[in-house]
Homo-oligomer: 278 residues x 2
């Protein structure tokens, strides 16, 4: 990436870039740590780990989840025995979970993805999709989801480790415009558009491969953030940040759970009159 | 576009390409024709016509609709007095209606778009979004839509002028994979991926500008279709063709209208318990 002008602008020594990956895949060492705590649910992203690692997680009785961005990925996950599949619509913030095809043009919006996965698999489908509030929960349930997974809406909660520049961006009008970008990690992820994304283009083939881009951008990001700027930081957010609230996470959870319960009781379109039975 | 190998393959004389645009914008001549019939609703795409043309349509009392693909476009349309705005999510089939920005990376999925437009404007919002069935109608209403606009689901109805190759594609597994393409008209539109899109790439900067690409592709398309092939035809479809039914349009309409009525009566998430009021 053409980062040197930025490094000059912020007085950064390029040799300060740390070596090595910014993330590591799930490993035997990680499984060993988890085994002690035996979490009831383990949710993977970018597909699934190797069969022997997956088996190890299953042995302590954990329910296994993973994300599908297409019907094909949902079928692939079901065939490998996941307990539920998370349908990740194109609207979702952060990293796309796609693993069978890299073609972003094939990625599907939630409204089309959820009902087609529900129809294709027998396991429960969790909608993860820029759900911002009670309306979003009710809509996801109407589409046939068994539950919802919500990220962006929690990012202003006190419990979230969202950085100061990230919080400021989420509260601003800038949050209305997001894009998929590979600049910050090397893999496409959705974030609020900032100066780096505007100037280099959000998807730039010159970005280091995942997950090496994280380290490459680290000194620039740190320097800019120390000056109060989020223009070089990954400002992950879904396409609907309007549900972000500065409330305790427990309060937001109770509100959304109330909507879930209401939707389950009142809002089953299966009960609507059926005129056409082809 | 590198079409000459295809022209050779199908024995087409390139001089057979008709000159001129495949579509013309709304004009005084078109308004004159419409004026005779005084349609109660006139729905525009790609923004709005010039103010004097719009005024002419308004004079016979027509309700004016147009599509918004972003919150900014919805606000722009509301400021120009449209009676309702159609929220066109990224899932929709056929031409994207975007008119304030050409940047496809900024296009928003229905699940995120509808509630944000509902919140931003005071006029009714119609969701147009790969709604395939009663579940989709209920979900759109839950997101705050005042109504829905449905295209793809009607394309197998007897009344639709859908071509034979297009019908075959909609009924096949191929309908599960769509992409935005500019190859067939010069503007990005969503269709089922076929050979032309695979081989040239769905978005190709060499495609003639809108609407000239229609004529450029016409002889190849006609020749391939005469051989029963849809590999060079625009196979417009939304990201959820699973609701297509070979039933009379009236039957499908009654089914979907029943779902709309049911959703209006039973499924208002505004009635769900509200825990968090920030």
């Amino acid at each position: 990436m053409r980062k040197s002008p930025y490094f000059r602008e912020f007085g950064i020594d390029a040799s300060a870039i740390p070596a090595g990956p910014g993330r590591v895949p799930f490993s035997a060492a990680a499984a060993e740590v988890l085994e002690e705590f035996q979490p009831a649910v383990v949710s993977f992203h970018f597909g699934l780990p190797a069969p022997e690692l997956l088996e190890r997680v299953r042995r302590w009785g954990a329910k296994i989840l993973s994300s599908a961005t297409t019907v094909d990925e949902a079928l692939w996950l079901e065939a490998r025995g996941v307990d539920a599949v998370i349908a990740q619509g194109l609207e979702a913030g952060g990293h796309r979970g796609h693993f069978l095809s890299e073609d972003l043009g094939m990625q599907v919006g939630t409204f089309a993805l959820v009902p087609q996965i529900v129809r294709a698999v027998k396991i429960p489908v969790i909608a993860a999709v820029g759900i911002a509030d009670a309306k979003g929960v009710a809509a996801a349930m109407a589409l046939g989801a068994a539950g919802v997974q919500i990220g962006t809406a929690y990012m202003l909660c006190a419990e979230a480790t969202t950085s100061a520049v990230h919080r400021a961006a989420l509260k601003s009008d800038a949050a209305r415009v997001t894009a998929l970008t590979n600049l910050f990690t090397g893999r496409p992820a959705r974030g609020i558009v900032n100066r780096l994304m505007r100037e280099l283009g959000p998807i730039n083939p010159a970005a280091p491969a995942f997950p090496l881009a994280t380290a490459a951008i680290a000194p620039l990001r740190a320097q800019a953030e120390s000056l109060g700027s989020g223009e070089f930081s990954p400002l992950w957010a879904g396409q609907n940040a309007s549900g972000c609230k500065e409330v305790p996470a427990s309060l937001l959870t109770r509100e959304l759970a109330g909507a879930l319960e209401y939707a389950l009781q009142h809002c089953d379109p299966g009960e609507a009159p059926q005129a056409a039975r082809p």
